[in-house]
């Protein structure tokens, strides 16, 4: 699509650059998400794999969401299934760090998670949109309880270190004021007959009425300090009871201040398809899904197995692996078919006899940098002092996001924040630091938004995805050009080998991409197996 729309594309690029220059990267992200295709799940209900040939077998590589979805369905369809997993646990990127966990990254730094009981951080995925139907199906099937995930919290902050003296602004105020001023301007243009050429007189009346409602304008279509505007942006003194309860309206920010701050870029953060209410998180951490899948699959999964060679012949696939706990000779596993979900940076280094098309595709997908940090504080000051219950603060500081726990409200005692969720160049820079330095920077930057940080901070963990031994990156990044050239080759079955994972989806970085990619691949593998079975 990029070739045929040169002029279009240019203006889009200019727009992105403009947004990037004035606003945080959250804005850039939102803009890019909304300009791209809406990412809808293709999940259409439980897969039907009837008629598996008697005795047919599949070897699945990788016990992440893709591999375990595939293993679960293939096993239930009657295939003999073995699953090899590098880690000592199921889940892959579906992963939660809790107190007592140890994590050693590539390069050798070990972090000991010292969180209190029931506190955790999800270093990888942390939210499930309601329309990720595959994920919703499997969490229900596995009995994993879900809690609401607050993508938008009107009382959390939008923060620019270059605006409002670096003071964070409540999302509620920025949204109300941006919307109110825009409504006032449009109402003014309408009443000055500037829209006569494009809107009929009758529609103009409706438009004016809708602008008054949408923007909380007063009777003369102005956005002013009033009961109406305060009912959006909050009051100077909120309504209450008795003699002390008379509300005092708050004063909106000036249009110039809203525009100049760039904070308007965060207003649509909950409007993109993937971020629209409702979103969910598994109670106890995202890793609960992987753990439940692991229990369900039981002995099907062999842990601590590092794949070293994948070789197919006319009758099956042989995979060599070593046990990561021993220095023993490689062992082998063999099956009629192989579904490989190993992340591409790793798979690219494993000898595998597939055609040049798939081999080229495997090497063509760079993986994104990302870091997340979990910080434990002595008390939940964001709730106690600032009345922020769940949701996300966005900032132009290198930490980019602060995520507040969406559970355990008012529980007293300690709490764990997502102190940073970072991508792009800054994630690479965080990755290049030793973990203690990452944490120190996260706490320093976060204290610019929450001054309580230094006094209340206890301990933390910082996971940099390029140093995660089992993925070597966060997720596969495609461009229009690499999609056009390699995507189909990556997904086509090569002999007896099929690939799956978020990297083989249009939902890059989302667990739903892994699930739908696995179902798509095993559906096609099943057809091959049935066809072969009939021949035999």
């Amino acid at each position: 699509m990029e070739n045929g729309e040169a002029s279009n594309s240019l203006s889009r690029r200019q727009l992105l650059r403009m947004i990037g220059a004035t606003a945080g990267s959250g804005a850039m992200y939102q803009a890019m998400s909304s300009l791209g295709l809406a990412a809808a799940s293709t999940y259409e209900g439980p897969i039907d794999l009837q008629g598996a040939p008697r005795g047919a077998s599949v070897l699945v590589l990788g016990a992440g969401m893709a591999g375990m979805t595939a293993a679960y369905e293939l096993r239930n369809a009657g295939y003999k299934v073995q699953l090899l997993e590098y880690n000592a646990r199921p889940g892959g990127r579906n992963w939660t760090l809790r107190g007592g966990d140890r994590y050693t990254e590539m390069g050798g730094h070990t972090q000991q998670c010292e969180f209190d009981k029931d506190l955790y951080i999800n270093p990888g995925p942390w939210r499930i949109p309601y329309h990720h139907h595959g994920m919703m199906h499997y969490t229900k099937l596995l009995g994993v309880p879900l809690e609401p995930f607050f993508q938008v919290n009107y009382n959390a902050y939008l923060h620019s270190s270059a605006a409002f003296g670096g003071k964070p602004q409540r999302f509620r105020e920025v949204k109300a004021d941006y919307q109110g001023h825009v409504a006032e301007l449009l109402a003014k243009a309408t009443r000055q007959n500037s829209l006569d050429a494009s809107v009929t007189k009758e529609d103009q009346e409706m438009l004016l009425e809708s602008l008054r409602e949408w923007g909380a304008l007063d009777s003369s279509y102005a956005y002013t300090a009033s009961g109406a505007s305060s009912d959006r942006r909050g009051y100077e003194r909120s309504p209450g009871g008795g003699l002390s309860g008379r509300p005092i309206p708050s004063k909106p920010m000036a249009l110039h201040d809203v525009l100049d701050s760039g904070l308007w870029s965060g207003v649509a953060n909950g409007d993109t398809f993937d971020m629209q209410t409702a979103l969910f998180q598994p109670a106890g951490g995202m890793g609960r899904i992987g753990e439940a899948f692991g229990r369900e699959l039981g002995p099907v999964i062999r842990y601590n197995a590092k794949v070293t060679d994948i070789h197919q012949d006319e009758r099956g696939v042989t995979v060599a692996f070593t046990d990561t706990r021993e220095q023993g000779a490689p062992q082998t596993a063999r099956a009629d078919w192989c579904l490989c979900t190993i992340p591409l940076p790793i798979l690219a280094q494993i000898p595998m006899n597939v055609g040049q098309a798939m081999a080229s595709a495997i090497s063509a997908v760079p993986y994104a940098a990302a870091i997340k940090a979990g910080l434990q504080f002595k008390r939940r000051f964001w709730e106690e002092d600032e009345k922020i219950f769940g949701g996300i603060t966005y900032t132009d500081l290198p930490i980019m996001n602060i995520g507040y726990p969406n559970t355990g409200f008012q529980s007293g005692g300690k709490g764990v924040l997502l102190g940073a969720y970072v991508w792009g160049l800054r994630a690479m820079e965080f990755t290049a630091m030793p973990p203690p330095e990452r944490l120190k920077k996260v706490v320093d930057y976060g204290s610019q938004i929450h001054p309580q940080y230094h006094k209340e901070f206890e301990n933390g963990v910082a996971v940099a995805w390029h140093r995660v031994p089992f993925t070597m990156g966060c997720f596969g990044m495609w461009t229009a050009a690499t999609r056009a050239k390699h995507y189909d080759d990556l997904c086509q079955i090569d002999g007896r080998i099929a690939l799956a994972g978020e990297h083989a989806s249009f939902l890059g970085g989302w667990q739903e991409g892994a699930v739908t990619s696995a179902l798509d691949a095993i559906g096609r593998l099943h057809q091959h197996a049935v066809a072969q079975g009939e021949k035999a």
């Binding site: 995925p125 994104a368 991508w423 390029h466 993925t471 990156g473 970085g509």
Partner: protein
């Protein structure tokens, strides 16, 4: 994770040099404004060593990041330069035209910077390849095509 992406969304997730703020208030963080002024050594320390590790020691997990120290492949400056420009096996490319690239993506380095970082790694970590590469030589190599972020 974009998707929040990712997911992640996480993930959701992002790019084109990730709209960096205009101020680097820490010497440890650069910005779009200052990225282009980083030397080869600084680029190595800010970016490359995230994977290739301090001292170019490389690292191993389920796969490995190549050790850059005493690396015999470095006899070819083109090999090193093309790797930085295009990426390799999951390594992000750094040769996209400025302001373009991929979501969550890599950042743009100038030809002069790529020359500088190539010279840096070929002249450190036990590598002692003397011939210095110039920006002009880098410019003559194929760069990843200018392309927009496609549908994800």
């Amino acid at each position: 994770m974009r998707n929040d992406a990712s997911s992640f969304a996480l993930l959701l997730w992002v790019g084109v040099g990730a709209a960096l703020s205009a101020h680097a208030d820490s010497p440890l963080f650069t910005s779009r404004a200052t990225l282009s002024s980083l030397s080869g050594e600084q680029i190595y320390e800010h970016i490359c060593q995230g994977c290739h590790m301090p001292g170019g020691q490389g690292a191993a997990g389920a796969g490995a990041y190549p050790k850059l120290a005493t690396n015999k492949n470095f006899v070819s400056w083109r090999f090193v330069a093309l790797t930085v420009l295009d990426g390799r096996n999951g390594m992000p490319p750094f040769g996209f035209p400025e302001g373009q690239g991929m979501r969550s993506g890599p950042s743009h380095l100038t030809d002069a910077q790529i020359a500088d970082v190539v010279n840096y790694v070929r002249g450190h970590f036990g590598n002692a390849y003397k011939a210095e590469v110039t920006a002009k030589q880098i410019a003559a190599l194929p760069h990843p095509a200018a392309e927009l972020i496609g549908p994800q």
